[in-house]
């Protein structure tokens, strides 16, 4: 297999090349662990079990796993029905299909009644080279507009595992982005503590404050370290929960720096950058703000590293953006 083809198929599996330790299928393995303790947890997928890391759960609890075929509206409806009988359903598919195709079902069958459904969505943002059909570039914006829905974009294997447990404990509907396969460890599992609705200060700095979400936090930390070596003081606030958004932490962080950069694996419209701007403006805080994220357009097919660099998500491009922040 050529390098480009490998990248197309594997999508996110660049961690080894970056020299980080990885964890295989952190979501699926965390779900198995939870499933042992909690018989009410059930798993569902819409013909993407293999590609959303949920097969370990199927293998451990075959009676509690339902593959509903290629039918994402029905996936969400069935999950809602299961939840109404006291189950805690984790339903997996790709983000594009969950959000674009099953939107009304997430809104009405799940969120409207505060139903306890967990939607776990693969291929977030630009993590596949399959083009606009598979790249969930606007899922966070779509989901954060639904009343009562909790929206999470985890950073790494540590956070995926912790967030899976946290959302199982959280009574109510959740949309969580999935990082699948061999997922790098960025956050120290011994010291990091994920909490729904809380942003975490990962690095102090006073020149530029970077607010990041999802795996882009890894790149934000890389940028901060690199620029720190050049004498620039860059702080990093990681905001894995887009809704409810930790506006207090963002405001406090913004107050401690001169300039702000938001970094997200998502279109710059309606995602983290928009949230930060909204919450600061409402509080009367003004900071120069650069929003790093995907442009307002559909993205072509290609290899993931090339596309991520082309559209501003590679570490190099993040470093440039932070370094040149006005």
């Amino acid at each position: 297999m050529t390098e480009r083809a490998r990248s197309l198929v594997m999508g996110q599996d660049e961690a080894a090349a970056l020299g980080r330790a990885t964890v295989e299928a952190p979501f699926g393995n965390a779900l198995v662990e939870l499933g042992r303790a909690r018989p009410e947890i059930v798993g569902l997928t819409a013909d993407l079990g293999k590609y959303t890391d949920i097969l370990p759960f199927r293998d451990a609890f075959p009676q509690r796993f339902f593959n509903v075929g290629m039918a994402e509206q029905n996936l969400v409806a069935i999950a809602a029905g299961l939840a109404r009988t006291g189950k805690i359903p984790f339903a997996t598919t790709y983000g594009v299909f969950a959000t674009r195709r099953a939107y009304d079902f997430i809104a009405i069958a799940c969120a409207h009644g505060a139903i306890n459904v967990k939607i776990v969505a693969g291929l977030p943002g630009l993590t596949t080279g399959y083009g606009g059909t598979h790249q969930a570039i606007e899922d966070l914006a779509l989901m954060r507009m639904i009343p009562g829905l909790t929206v999470i974009d985890p950073c790494d294997a540590t956070e995926i595992a912790q967030a899976t447990a946290a959302i199982a404990d959280h009574p109510g509907p959740v949309y969580m982005r999935l990082l699948r396969g061999n997922v790098p460890i960025v956050l120290d599992p011994l010291s990091y503590e994920f909490e729904i609705g809380k942003a975490k200060l990962l690095r102090e700095g006073h020149d530029v404050g970077v607010i990041s979400t999802g795996f882009m936090t890894e790149r934000a930390l890389d940028a901060a370290a690199t620029l720190g070596g050049r004498g620039m003081s860059v702080g990093v606030l990681h905001a894995p929960t887009l809704k409810p958004f930790d506006a207090d932490a963002v405001a406090a962080f913004a107050g401690s720096v001169e300039r702000l950069v938001t970094v997200e694996n998502h279109v710059v419209v309606g995602g983290l950058g928009s949230l930060v701007a909204e919450c600061l403006f409402e509080r009367g805080m003004v900071r120069p703000l650069r929003r790093v994220g995907l442009p307002d357009r559909f993205i072509e097919c290609g290899s993931v590293p090339v596309l991520q660099d082309r559209y501003g998500l590679s570490s190099e491009r993040v470093i440039e953006a932070v370094a040149s922040c006005p």
């Binding site: 075929g69 409806a77 809602a80 079902f105």
Partner: protein, 284 residues
């Protein structure tokens, strides 16, 4: 429990018809208060709801969250007028509350929310009910619960693709604790069926459902079909009910078939008299 003859082998059909007449009276009084509403659908589905709430469903009006209760899901949320009538007649909500139908801050909305006692899902976004019923049937089966799930949906609603996603899944999972009640009244928002759905019963059979087709305003046929649907056959059950919108008020039955009926204030007394006269003649 206010159930006249639950699962009786010799159900008192006249008692059920009497209940259906009461439901229709409630529906008309509620619509009269509003001057409009989904009267046609409410009158058309009254026989089915009477059979469900006073013969077929296992539930306790004083313990609505009883885990082993049978679930009734009204997917067509705009049929709420009939559901409120049934829930009042069954003692779940006060009859006196029915006059609040459709008014500001009433629990008895023109489309169902799950915050009203006795309502299992938020209906009204058509095509969402059956899939939720599939999920409930799976969950109850997983628990080994004896409960069954009844999902009402409509002929127009079959045009939503999600209906067939759910139908496929129910057949695949062999959910014989699931019963689809398909109200075929021949009307949808834009008037008479804008897209032909026939042959309805054949479609459900092809998706793996044990299917019967009946006159949905014939109490004996409804009771017989519901009895047939109790069989643990390894298949989900579908009952196709051919109903007449406005049933029980001949003037409304003859009126041009409309999704949303508006009745002029001057018409009501005559319609109510006609309804009561017609009701007196119902008994076999």
């Amino acid at each position: 429990m206010p159930r006249d003859n639950l699962h009786s082998e010799t159900p008192d059909l006249n008692a059920l018809r009497f209940r259906a007449t009461n439901l229709r009276r409630h529906v008309l009084e509620m619509a009269r208060g509003q001057g409009q509403g989904y009267v046609g659908q409410g009158l058309g589905i009254a026989d089915l709801l009477a059979a469900l709430y006073f013969h077929e469903l296992r539930y306790d009006p004083r313990n609505l969250t009883w885990p082993d209760r049978d679930r009734f899901l009204l997917s067509t949320g705009h049929y709420s007028i009939a559901l409120w009538a049934a829930l009042a007649e069954a003692g779940v909500i006060p009859v006196a509350e029915l006059t609040s139908y459709g008014t500001d801050d009433s629990r008895l909305d023109m489309s169902t929310l799950d915050t009203t006692p006795g309502v299992e899902i938020i209906g009204g976004s058509l095509g969402q009910g059956l899939g939720q019923g599939v999920g409930m049937a799976l969950g109850l089966r997983l628990d080994g619960a004896p409960a069954r799930v009844f999902v009402e949906l409509s002929d127009g609603e079959m045009q939503e693709g999600a209906t067939w996603e759910a139908a496929m899944a129910a057949g695949h999972f062999k959910l014989d604790n699931l019963v689809a009640l398909i109200d075929c009244n021949g009307i949808q928002a834009d008037g008479p069926m804008v897209l032909n759905m026939e042959p309805v019963a054949d479609k459900w059979r092809a998706f793996g459902w044990a299917t019967s087709e009946i006159d949905g305003n014939d109490m004996a046929a409804i009771v017989a079909a519901l009895r047939g649907a109790r069989e643990a056959s390894g298949q989900p059950k579908a009952i196709v009910l051919r109903t007449t919108p406005g049933k029980g008020v001949p003037t409304l039955e003859r009126r041009e078939r409309a999704h949303f009926v508006r009745i002029e204030p001057g018409e009501w007394n005559a319609l109510m008299e006609e309804f009561e006269r017609t009701a007196e003649t119902i008994s076999d």
